[in-house]
């Protein structure tokens, strides 16, 4: 029975199948909002309101010819898309929407799971760099270098911003952090600055405008994905979709008060809050132009990092004041 339960958990809900459906829905939402902000239609014809368009795109890519360049490091090149999808799916299992039971810490909810989550969210970036490097294309190589350069910019502010609510809640477990803020919703306002910093950092992590520098198509063709095609590209795209869900879920859990109310109402909270975060991310995407790599790094260190530090200081001071 336990085995069956675990299998169900991994494969159906909230495992692969659910993640696939929900992340493609989120992609549809993102695309539709982005299109509407630009006075366009967005996906329209596949399914009702074009809801099935991301799934159709996914299967279309699966059916396409899969080209592996002669000069590529074949082992890495082939295996990395699957690894990156596995990593972000694992991160998804740690979200406190399916494991909200505070009393029972299990293998998907334990003290320190927020650190594991941050670690798992950093991994796809490194995988992208490896993927770019192993395809040995000039444009990919430049893209890979840009991925790493950017990582050094946004990662520190992101960590600082996400950890300060945890410090205030005095816990390293996502479910407990959520529960803390559900009990004292007013304290959420303290973390507003951190939320903004984390939002911008997530935008950079997901490589969306203004931080789509590693795959800026007008500059370096496909950037990191130049040589990827067919199934592997489909997996990478799915990775980004799942990462979008996980990152917005993480922000919602930490900054927006989590998902109270058990499995069902909690899920409604989850959907509403992630879509809200995705809407904000789409808005940022529509509002800005792509900036240059040197500007990203200087922006991250001159603006984002100090803001995150201020947030951290404020949190620590408040914590001392409260106790």
């Amino acid at each position: 029975m336990a085995v069956l339960r675990t299998l169900l958990y991994l494969l159906i809900y909230p495992g692969i199948l659910f993640l696939f459906v929900y992340s493609t829905f989120c992609e549809w939402f993102d695309r539709k909002v982005y299109a509407r902000l630009q006075n366009r239609m967005g996906p329209t014809h596949t399914g009702r309101f074009g809801l099935l368009q991301p799934i159709a795109d996914f299967f279309k890519l699966l059916a396409k010819e899969d080209v592996v360049p002669d000069a590529a490091d074949k082992g890495l090149f082939n295996v990395l898309p699957a690894v990156s999808l596995a990593v972000v799916s694992t991160a998804a299992l740690l979200l406190p929407v399916w494991n909200f039971d505070l009393a029972r810490a299990g293998w998907t909810s334990f003290s320190g799971d927020i650190i594991v989550m941050l670690y798992l969210l950093s991994l796809p970036t490194l995988i992208l760099f490896l993927a770019a490097w192993s395809s040995t294309n000039l444009f990919s190589t430049i893209g890979g270098a840009r991925v790493l350069t950017m990582l050094f910019g946004y990662e520190v502010p992101f960590f600082l911003a996400v950890l300060s609510p945890a410090i205030l809640a005095n816990s390293w477990r996502l479910a407990e952090i959520s529960a803390f803020y559900q009990a004292k919703p007013l304290l959420l306002l303290v973390n507003l600055l951190g939320f903004v910093v984390a939002l911008i950092a997530v935008q950079a992590k997901l490589e969306r405008t203004p931080f789509d520098i590693p795959d800026a198509e007008t500059e370096i063709v496909g950037g990191t994905f130049t040589e990827y095609s067919g199934k592997k590209l489909a997996l990478f795209r799915l990775t980004f979709d799942v990462e979008l869900v996980v990152a917005s879920g993480l922000l919602a859990a930490v900054f927006l008060g989590g998902f109270p109310g058990g499995a069902l109402i909690g899920f409604v909270h989850f959907a509403a809050k992630t879509l809200f975060v995705i809407f904000l991310l789409s808005l940022i995407r529509a509002l800005t132009a792509r900036i240059r790599i040197d500007q990203v790094v200087s922006f991250a260190w001159k603006v984002l990092a100090p803001l995150a530090v201020i947030q951290l200081l404020a949190t620590i001071l408040l914590k001392g004041f409260l106790s």
Partner: protein, 400 residues
């Protein structure tokens, strides 16, 4: 680490094939080289085999965006050779279309600049509003791209009172929108960060390298054929030559937006002052022997056509100089010391319109970095080999 990256002949930032060879050191460009010829159609040779009338449409097809410019430039020259004076109403309509074309071209460019900088919302909105002027052009001429308004001795289609009102209405909307977009372009921090101080071309360099059009004007060179050599109706109209002094891509944006506003003024003057009368005079089939040099300010800069006639119904020689060719030497200078990320913006800032041809493809081997020139036949053979190795899927069948 210094290496070469090929931008083009096929590249997402380029709408037409051209090869830019960049030597980069990390993210910084140390040297640039331009290779042309991917779009060469032998047009000047072909023009010698076509009659004057046929050549109007041939020159119109030199470029898609500034189709009216080349045809007008050619027709101006031929009218000089044939000693024709087109009726004033015809001239007004001809240059009305050319100003509308300038509006459409500059709005198009503004959108492209936004897209090259990754500012897709800006691109979508400017192009949405560009539809207004496209609709006006469609209403006047019947088609969106090749207006085919010119004929030797005048224009082919007249405009009526209702159309005049529609044009004025559309221009009023566009004026408001252009001012708004100028505000956005000059205020959005991420966009300004990308275009300010990028692609510098000093005034001295612009003069020495014979830059034309908005590129020259953005470097402070007030070179505009409409003022220098006012052809046809331009000496009767009131407008200013727009220049900027900051010499970068931002200056080119500023110049183009200012020119948009000047064009709206010109269009209003032309529509309101449209004289009565015929729109065309009958043209002979043959031109007297002689030569004419026709200059015209296209949206991208000066068009120069040198036309030589030998007395027959075909030109002896037609030399076409499109503005983009004049701006290439300046582009190489602008690209140096820039970032890789600036390549599309700097290159787009000259509003390139590429027309030239080559039947060889340059491949860079990923392993050795060696370059090899592959002839078209070899390439075709390779493609055939490739299809042999690929699994046989049979003929593609349309699933529905």
């Amino acid at each position: 680490m210094s290496f070469q990256i090929p931008i083009g002949p096929q590249h997402p930032a380029l709408k037409e094939p051209i090869s830019l060879r960049m030597t980069v050191d990390g993210e910084v460009i140390t040297d640039a080289d331009i290779r042309l010829g991917y779009n060469h159609r032998g047009l000047e040779k072909l023009a010698e085999e076509k009659t004057w009338v046929q050549n109007i449409y041939l020159t119109e097809r030199i470029c898609g965006i500034c189709s009216h410019s080349h045809a007008t430039c050619f027709v101006q020259g031929v009218e000089r050779l044939m000693e024709l004076t087109p009726p004033r109403r015809g001239l007004y309509i001809r240059y009305l279309v050319s100003e509308l074309e300038r509006v459409h071209s500059h709005l198009l460019w503004l959108g492209v600049a936004g897209h090259e900088a990754g500012f897709d919302s800006f691109f979508m909105y400017t192009w949405r509003d560009r539809e207004i002027v496209m609709d006006l052009l469609e209403m006047i001429s019947g088609n969106r791209v090749h207006y085919a308004m010119n004929t030797i001795g005048g224009v082919r289609r007249d405009i009526d009172a209702g159309q005049k009102a529609t044009i004025l209405e559309g221009i009023a909307t566009l004026k408001k929108r252009s001012e708004y977009y100028f505000g956005i372009g000059a205020n959005e921090p991420s966009f300004v960060a990308r275009i300010a101080g990028v692609g510098l071309l000093s005034k001295e360099q612009a003069i020495a390298l014979c830059a034309v059009g908005p590129v020259a004007r953005a470097s402070g060179v007030a070179r505009d054929v409409r003022k220098e050599d006012p052809y046809a109706v331009y000496d009767e109209l009131d407008f200013e030559v727009c220049t900027a002094d900051s010499c970068d891509v931002l200056a080119r944006v500023v110049v183009r937006v200012k020119e948009l506003l000047q064009s709206y003024r010109l269009i209003e003057q032309m529509v309101k002052g449209l004289p009565d009368g015929d729109i065309v005079v009958k043209a002979p089939r043959k031109a007297k022997p002689g030569e004419a040099l026709s200059r015209y300010e296209a949206p991208r800069g000066e068009n120069t056509h040198y036309i030589k006639s030998n007395g027959s119904d075909k030109p002896e020689r037609l030399k076409v100089r499109a503005p983009t060719l004049a701006n290439y030497p300046a582009t190489v200078v602008m690209l140096r010391k820039g970032f890789i990320a600036d390549i599309p913006l700097i290159f787009a800032a000259i509003d390139p319109c590429i027309c030239c041809a080559e039947r060889a493809v340059t491949l860079i081997s990923a392993r050795s970095g060696e370059e090899s020139i592959v002839r078209m036949s070899d390439l075709r053979r390779r493609a055939l080999d490739r299809s042999k190795y690929a699994s046989v899927k049979g003929n593609a069948v349309w699933p529905f």
